[in-house]
Symmetry: C2
Subunit: 394 residues, 2 copies
Amino acid sequence: MKRVALRPENAHQARLLHLLQDGPRSRAELGDVVELSRSKLAVEVGRLTELGLIEEAGLAASRGGRRAAVVRLSQRLRFAAIDIGATSVDVAVTGGDLEILAHAAEPCDVRDGPDAVLSVALEALGKLRSRGIATELHGVGVGVPGPVSFRDGFPVAPPIMPGWDRYPVRDVLAQQLGCPALIDNDVNIMALGEMHAGVAKTVDDFLLVKIGTGIGCGIVVDGEIYRGVSGCAGDIGHIRVNDDGPACSCGNTGCLEAYFGGAALARQAEEAARSGASGHLAERLAQAGRLTAEDVGTAAAAGDAVAIAIIRDGGRRVGQVLAGLVSFFNPGLVVIAGGLAGLGHVLLAEIRSVVYRRSLPLATGNLPITLAELGDTCGVVGAAKLISSHVFSH
Amino acid sequence: MKRVALRPENAHQARLLHLLQDGPRSRAELGDVVELSRSKLAVEVGRLTELGLIEEAGLAASRGGRRAAVVRLSQRLRFAAIDIGATSVDVAVTGGDLEILAHAAEPCDVRDGPDAVLSVALEALGKLRSRGIATELHGVGVGVPGPVSFRDGFPVAPPIMPGWDRYPVRDVLAQQLGCPALIDNDVNIMALGEMHAGVAKTVDDFLLVKIGTGIGCGIVVDGEIYRGVSGCAGDIGHIRVNDDGPACSCGNTGCLEAYFGGAALARQAEEAARSGASGHLAERLAQAGRLTAEDVGTAAAAGDAVAIAIIRDGGRRVGQVLAGLVSFFNPGLVVIAGGLAGLGHVLLAEIRSVVYRRSLPLATGNLPITLAELGDTCGVVGAAKLISSHVFSH
DNA sequence: ACAGTTTGTCCTCTCCGTGGAAAAAGATTA
DNA sequence: TAATCTTTTTCCACGGAGAGGACAAACTGT
């Protein structure tokens, strides 16, 4: 069996691969889209076939003449995606078009360190592959919940990932799996996911705000992830909301995360439960011994007024920060993502209300603020997109 | 006299022109920098000479062999730059290398509307040109103090420019002067200026914050101005600093401009003068009948404690907003520019202190915050850069 | 069966760039 | 002053790549 070559040879081939990622096409259709002569196109398609990156896929229906020969990405192409969260690892295997072929989520604490977490991920990936789905991998994309030096391929001073600082995740995985690897921040990964298959398909400049254990923001400029000079752009969790706000783990006071991070929500919920303000939460506290952000979500979904008020208050804080960022960045779309997606509508309404009121009218004039479309799979799709873009480029 | 053609014919020529903008070079030197064969390079240089865009400039000193023939941008190339401020218009004529050949500043109220202001600018420009400096113009760049739709070439809903909304500045000037024209926001223009000849020469991602009548921010991503989807990116004057702050002209409360804009400074100064807190300011008020932001500046420069306190307080507010933006954008440099440049050190110290304390350590680790290097000429150099980049591109 | 359409392949012609060779112009040394 | 070495520039021939036309293949509809 011929080994699939790693890379296209030139920019034309890269362009063709990206086009074919959106589905099979006939040579004639490709010729309509790409500004290449028929002969040149035939040559490049031939080369890509020779490289094993694309293959024939039968004949299309006739449009009144000779039936077109359809080409598609090689069905043997396989990308792996690893989305490392605070308390779990999502692993997936996709084909060349990033369609998910297999998916698994393993509970796993990121604080156990890179060795433990990566071996859980590799084992899960091994199980998926052993189903005969992927004999060979052509790339692996990784997302981690903290700042990353994209250039160097490792996390840098990640607050919730002790032991990961400068651990060469990219190179270790590339060596272990014998294929190209890339690592990026989890919000950037999600932004890529929504750009490839979600709400951001047609937008070039947008923000994706993820609200979870921490609060982060993916920045897309001209269709590309913007990472900043140190790779920590979008780290908005510690932007000041108020001087006289609660103390934050970062040492300052009044940070956004001190109002609406996972820990802050849990604290507010426990207070509400103890003071007797919320029956739902008190009951849950009695059951579980302690409360988490998720409990606030379920209570709110069940209609608990206090939980809804907590979320609404948090949404207002996020909205305040976001209003400033919208004025500054003037995006074409804002996507809200993260664990609280289920009760998104309360949150969304509050965020919208603040942003539309406090941002520059010119910036909000035609600014949709929506929830993420992709659910659990957003991260892994984005991770696959990250590495596929790299492999499919020259 | 042969007319200088408008544009290079291909990307190679554009590249050569941009290289020559930094000074004359011999063909051999160009060959070392550009990845072109000697023959190809000779052809392109020949074409550019034929087009009248470049010309021979004698022989370089020998380096042990035949003396190299130096080429430079045509000495007949002329760009015009118009920097429209709130109360004055700066006009300049530059050569192809953006060196300023003539410069004039005319007092002029932007509120008089586009017809009045543009005729002042055109008249001033005419005077400069009549000195025999510029028989022919190859482009004109314009900066205005308000949001601009760069694509359409006109201001959009500019708050301090009544009558300018959607007035087709670009097309009117292009027609009047018979050359290509471009219009952009004044902060973007200044960012271009500092990038071409100031502190930002070696930085690809940075912010330029201008503090003047309004407060605005130029955003540079990967060496290019980022304008946002509506062209109003960087409009940070109305970002919320505090909920219970002073009322702002925009209708909200606690905006940055309500603390530290031109009007806010004047108001605080008059209060200080009336209450007798500041002798300097009271004296000035008695003289002039009213106070402006500039008076605060001169008082502070003279050592007036109240004025310094006002500036320090404003610097803190700017720092608070900037701290958030630094965490979000993770720039490689922050440049502070604007009318208060003279007393920059107090302001700068305050801004630095807040940003370094409140932003993400990873983002501030290697982040210089400096004053703009270019003074009065920053705007016009940037405007010239804007149009020259356009004319020199394909 | 034949005309019209669409698709794919082949072939030739032209253009462009590479790289070598030679020429030009000057420095250095005998 | 002549000869040799360096550096720069021009000239030229060869090779490769792409554009576009011609033709063949495959299919529809009359």
